[in-house]
């Protein structure tokens, strides 16, 4: 009787504490502040609109565009193949499952870079990789892809190559009404980023 009494005295308060406290569902940050600062300064997370346009035109299955604006803006206009994760819902469980993979490139975009970059910072700090931000957002996308400006005659060849590529992409993606110039040389969009294989965090295999 005595040992049972002492066991009860010790264990029941612990049980009461653990029952009263809300369950811990926080996701810890995996990157330190310094590491994230280095990555943000290196600006490697940005993808140019040309690269994304190239991937869309080629129907590359590894591209996954994610619209982080509100639902109304998403329904008014979104890039082809984009899914909608408003930044307010970024950390819900189903949405986080979208990032725990190493097959697709998740590219955040918004009207400009600011909100998409915020989403990138948070998701990156939780330790997920293969996440990128559309450089310049939709504003820059409209400027460059859908209504590209004609480079002046003194520009370098690459500028013309880029312009031709943008024209072709615009036609494929449905924009701009200026007729295309004949292609000169190869269009050279930036090479698409490589997908980093992430070692899958398996649960501990157990059994007795």
């Amino acid at each position: 009787m005595k040992p049972l009494f002492w066991l009860a005295i010790f264990v029941i308060p612990l049980g009461l504490i653990i029952a009263a406290v809300p369950q811990n569902t926080t996701h810890p940050y995996k990157l330190s502040a310094t590491e994230l600062l280095n990555e943000a300064n290196a600006r490697t997370q940005f993808i140019s609109p040309e690269t994304v346009a190239d991937l869309i035109v080629k129907k590359d299955p590894t591209l996954q565009l994610i619209d982080v604006r509100s639902r109304d803006e998403y329904e008014k206009f979104s890039l082809s193949g984009a899914i909608h994760i408003p930044i307010t819902d970024l950390l819900s469980e189903e949405n986080l499952a979208q990032f725990d993979q190493d097959v697709k490139m998740n590219v955040f975009y918004a009207n400009s870079t600011v909100v998409a970059n915020e989403a990138w910072m948070i998701i990156r700090q939780l330790g997920y990789s293969n996440i990128y931000v559309l450089e310049g957002g939709l504003n820059y996308w409209f400027e460059t892809i859908l209504n590209p400006g004609i480079p002046s005659s003194t520009s370098a060849d690459e500028e013309f190559a880029k312009y031709d590529f943008r024209k072709a992409a615009a036609q494929a993606l449905g924009g701009g009404t200026v007729s295309a110039l004949p292609a000169e040389g190869n269009a050279a969009p930036a090479p698409r980023p490589a997908i980093k294989a992430v070692p899958k965090k398996k649960k501990a295999a157990g059994g007795c």
Binding site: A8, I12, L14, I18, V21, Q23, P28, A204
Partner: protein
């Protein structure tokens, strides 16, 4: 931060070595609690010695409270902790086989190795029977694979199945366990056996 091996804070080999050390500790505790005696172990089915119930339930409650408190402090990510998958049919059949074996033989697999380590011959016979059973299961796997994999329910936890949080379920389990310990002491008084 935890589980350590999954988050690659320690390597897989260190994990195995720590498992070895913990295993030695487990065997030591079992042996020093007298779990090498098959008569003491079988007593839980006859009522004269309920130590098996007390020791294993205390261990389970300690582990449960430990994990929940570590999760509270942020030291363990509970989503990465292994929960046994539930195959309902094979769990029931396996439980019956294990229970019958326990009553007849007086050992369960872990304690049989405790008994063997101090040289008990009934433990040796139990282990031989264990390996015969494993062999039969493996040889005939094609026949009972269907039954073995039937009714897969995923890895449900009782707390989620009942709609409670883990903490509330832990408190209920503690109270139930303490009640069972009182019941065990009553049983030991009601079914005494002078010598075993």
């Amino acid at each position: 931060m935890g589980p350590l091996a999954i988050n690659e804070i320690i390597s897989e080999n260190t994990n195995l070595f720590l498992a070895f050390v913990v295993g030695i500790g487990f065997g030591f505790v079992l042996e020093s609690s007298g779990f090498s005696s098959s008569r003491k172990l079988a007593g839980v089915f006859y009522g004269y010695d309920m130590v098996v119930l007390k020791v294993f339930f205390t261990g389970a409650i300690t582990a449960m409270l430990g994990l929940l408190f570590f999760s509270l402090f942020g030291w363990v990510d509970l989503n990465l902790v292994y929960v046994n998958p539930t195959y309902l049919t094979s769990a029931i059949i396996g439980g019956v086989i294990m229970g019958v074996g326990f009553i007849i033989g007086g050992y369960c697999p872990g304690t049989s190795f405790c008994g063997l380590s101090i040289g008990k011959l009934d433990a040796l016979v139990f282990i031989i029977g264990l390996f015969i059973g494993v062999g039969i299961f493996g040889a005939g796997f094609n026949w009972w694979e269907g039954v073995y994999m039937a009714e897969f329910l995923g890895s449900p936890k009782i707390s989620t199945a009942l709609g409670l949080t883990d903490g509330v379920f832990a408190l209920i389990l503690i109270l139930v366990a303490l009640g069972m310990f009182r019941g065990a002491e009553w049983a030991e008084k009601k079914f005494p056996r002078a010598e075993y």
